[in-house]
Amino acid sequence: MGEGVIIVGSGPAGVSAAWPLLQAGVAVTMLDADPGGALPAAPEGTMAGLRGNASRWQVQFGADLAGVAGRGALSPKLGMPLARAVLAGFEAGNRIGVDGFVSLGSLAAGGLSHIWGGAAAVYDAADLAGFPFGEAVLAPSYAAVMGRIGVSQVSGFSPPVGRVWAAAGRRPATDGFELEPARNAVLRADRDGRGGCVQCNLCLFGCHRGSIYHSDQELPALLAMPGFSYRRGARVVRVGVDAGRPVVALSGGEVVRGQRVLLACGTLATTGLVMRALGLARLRLLSNPVAAMAFVVPGLVGAGLPERGFSLGQLAFRLGIGGGVRAAGMLFAADGLPLSTFAGQMPVSRPVALRLARALAPALVLANCYLPGGFSDNAVVLEADGVRLVGRTTAAARAGLREAAQRLRRALAGLGAFAIPGSLTLAAPGADAHAAGTLPMGGDGPGGTDLTGAVSGLPGVHVVDGAALPALPARHYTLTIMANADRIARLLAVA
């Protein structure tokens, strides 16, 4: 194989790194671990139409009914057939073991972007505080990535979220609580073969119109670029250096050489490859401690479920929890969720719980709330055969999430949405799917990388995914990972 750049992974980071290189005329070979086999087809129609449909069970649980037992405790979407297919085989394929950490990763083409929430947050100066560069450096890359994937601000809300937003417009913002319509990587109008969102509310089952961005969508356009080659089923098991040049070994034993190797297989998999290559014993792993909570808008209890809706984040909030710490999260509607996801948590008999869930569904506002990665205490530990992810929920994280929940409760009560007692759930470390920071840019400890994500000790190997983020503010980080990959690729294209 030639002198081009090898990109490992076809997720948001890998695709974002590919564009600037190809545009600068650098040959790119993308190695994708995708084991083949199609992901479950996204259902057509609307959630309202699916509800009474005889084939609904197939959409919700999969034809093999494997989803009935569900993984729903973390997040409703993780129990869906699409999520199960996207996540399948990740731990085994990357030799990852866990201990108190939920490892979410994907071997599928497009990776986790198939099941992300679409939240597209731009880090501000405060968010970038731990980074070795400022807003201005990242701005062009943010603009390029947003231009490619299409980001829109939510305009049509589900009834309960709409009431909260309307009430917020009438009231002045209270102590450090900011609310704004969420910005999501969702198209409003048809573009590049993707359809605009029609608010079918089937988001969690996969978007059949392609309105919600996932990086797999960009492969056809990349394949049309001269100098791009793509290999499906090429799972990288080792990265190293041979005669001063980076090399990667595939699961079949084949060795692929390139001028540079860009690791973009997701924080967890990338970290494992680098640790094994350098023999690093232990690295810090950042995650966003996260909690979920339910609120009810009383006037909507028992109402009919809306014909249209949108299951991704509708309103984004930020709030201060003291000590200069900012928590953030999203407000969602529940009208697109299976009732069984929350009926099971009610302290009443199941027949009543089911009816109660149905009565509440049109009135619910669900919130998730993240704390900065500094509140996490996780590590990646090198083992004889692979790596182990060790997670721990710190007392500070627990206290911080409780404090944030308390403030959110107060803020939303003022906007007509009242917290359901006992609904606060703290998720296990890793369940946020925001693993980051193991190989930080500008870091001078073991595993530290430079401004281009170059790993010291592995000449020519660059980390371009979440592993390279030096800090993890309480924000959704995918857009920033993409922008950073774009930024690094621009630097490498002219190097």
């Binding site: 509800r51 009474g52 449909n53 005889a54 609904r56 069970w57 919700q60 649980f61 009914l65 009935v68 037992a69 569900g70 209890v301 028992g302 109402a303 009919g304 299976p338 009732l339 069984s340 009926a343 099971g344 302290p347 009443v348 008999s349 199941r350 027949p351 009543v352 719980a353 089911l354 009816r355 109660l356 149905r358 009565a359």
Partner: protein, 397 residues
């Protein structure tokens, strides 16, 4: 074509052996008093215990014989004499292999007559190719014989008095018995071979598993002394419609001793599944899971589930057997549900919601009507609250 002669070929085990042998390509001749119970495809020759090998049995030279016939009615010695006569006939006709179906209870000093008779017969098989199969506690297949009796008893009452429930029995599924006997018929042998689970299971546990898998209910086994049980046998014989419990069966159980048969099974290449697994092949077990699904779905839905929904429930349960007998009062039972039943209820809830009938049930009526019904449900739950709290406390304690 291999020729197999089966005595008692219309009986509980015999019928099963004949059907399996036919499927494996044997030519089968069934010897029994009447054609009743003999599977189609087998030749039937009228024969009674006490007669020799009938002349019209066909080509007996080199054939295999599985001897199952046992006469419970006549004096015990008649079984030995009858077997002797059959064996003499077989030897004279040049039969290749003779498999005598004996019992785990076979012993010179067995507590029951059956065990002593079986042991006595084993002693007259003394040539190569003549082997006794000591069969453990057979379950599965038609609800007959000992298995039928135990099915009836475990389905009858939530508390079952039983002698010595800690005694280990070695269960074996009827199909595993049939396969084992056919392998012996093919290979022959000498002495005795054990056909039973290598590891014993307490008889009380066996009964509880049977109650759970077949009737979807818990069972409490109350230990009683043997003497009392024998008295109960006599009484049961006088109560109309109550299954009669034979003294012989009670004594057979009371005298069961552990039988080392792991090496025998290995030599035959025969796998004996645990009873939970074996029972799930049974129609009765499938019926119980259907009843459970219907009950739980109706409970969460408040309406009868359709066939498709019920079928999905059974599929989703997968290999698991029934765990609940839904005879109402689920509102109370739910509070006391352990993790297994709770899991089934969650399953029922998820499947019910995702079905057309679930959507209809949840959408029925006006907003006001739905809220009124919900309030009523919440009130009932409120009344039930002390029970739930007590149940939670009890589970934790």
């Amino acid at each position: 074509m291999r020729h197999l002669i089966v005595t008692g070929g219309g009986g509980y085990i015999g019928g099963r052996v004949v059907r399996r042998a036919l499927a494996q390509g044997w030519a089968v001749t069934a010897l029994s008093r009447s054609r009743r119970g003999v599977p189609v495809g087998a030749r039937h020759v009228v024969w009674g215990l006490g007669e020799g090998l009938p002349a019209d049995v066909g080509d007996a030279q080199g054939a295999a014989v599985i001897h199952l016939a046992h006469d419970w009615g006549v004096r015990a010695e008649a079984n030995a004499a009858g077997t002797q006569a059959l064996l003499a006939g077989c030897r004279a006709a040049g039969v290749g292999r003779f498999v005598f179906v004996s019992s785990q209870s076979a012993r010179a000093d067995a507590a029951n007559i059956y065990g002593r008779v079986k042991w006595g017969i084993e002693q007259i098989l003394d040539r190569d190719g003549e082997v006794s199969a000591r069969v453990g506690l057979v379950y599965g297949g038609p609800v007959q014989a000992m298995f039928g009796l135990l099915c009836k008893l475990t389905g009858m009452t939530p508390v079952l008095p039983m002698i010595d429930p800690w005694r280990k029995v070695q269960p074996i599924h009827i199909d595993e018995v049939a396969e084992g006997l056919l392998r012996l018929a093919e290979r022959g042998g000498r002495g005795w071979v054990g056909l039973a689970a290598a590891e014993g299971v307490a008889f009380g546990t066996f009964l509880k598993v049977l109650a759970r898998e077949f009737h979807g209910r818990g069972l409490m086994v109350l230990p009683v002394p043997v003497r009392f049980a024998l008295l109960a046998c006599d009484v049961s014989a006088r109560i109309p419609f109550f299954p009669t419990v034979d003294r012989e069966r009670v004594l057979g159980l009371a005298g069961t001793r552990a039988m080392a048969c792991g090496a025998h099974l290995a030599a035959l290449g025969l796998e004996v599944a645990p009873i939970e697994v074996g029972l799930r092949r049974e129609v009765g077990s499938r019926r119980a899971i259907l009843a459970e699904g219907r009950g739980l779905l109706r409970y969460v839905l408040g309406a009868a589930p359709g066939v498709d929904l019920l079928r999905r429930y059974v599929r989703a349960v997968g290999g698991g057997g029934a765990v609940a007998r839904p005879w109402g009062a689920l509102r109370v039972m739910e509070a006391f549900a352990g993790p297994v039943l709770a899991g089934r209820l969650d399953l029922a809830l998820a499947l019910a919601e995702a079905s057309p009938e679930g959507e209809r049930a949840l959408m029925a009526g006006s907003r006001f009507g739905r809220l009124a019904r919900l309030s009523l449900g919440l009130v009932v739950d409120g009344v039930m609250l002390p029970v739930r709290v007590a149940a939670a406390w009890w589970r934790r304690g």
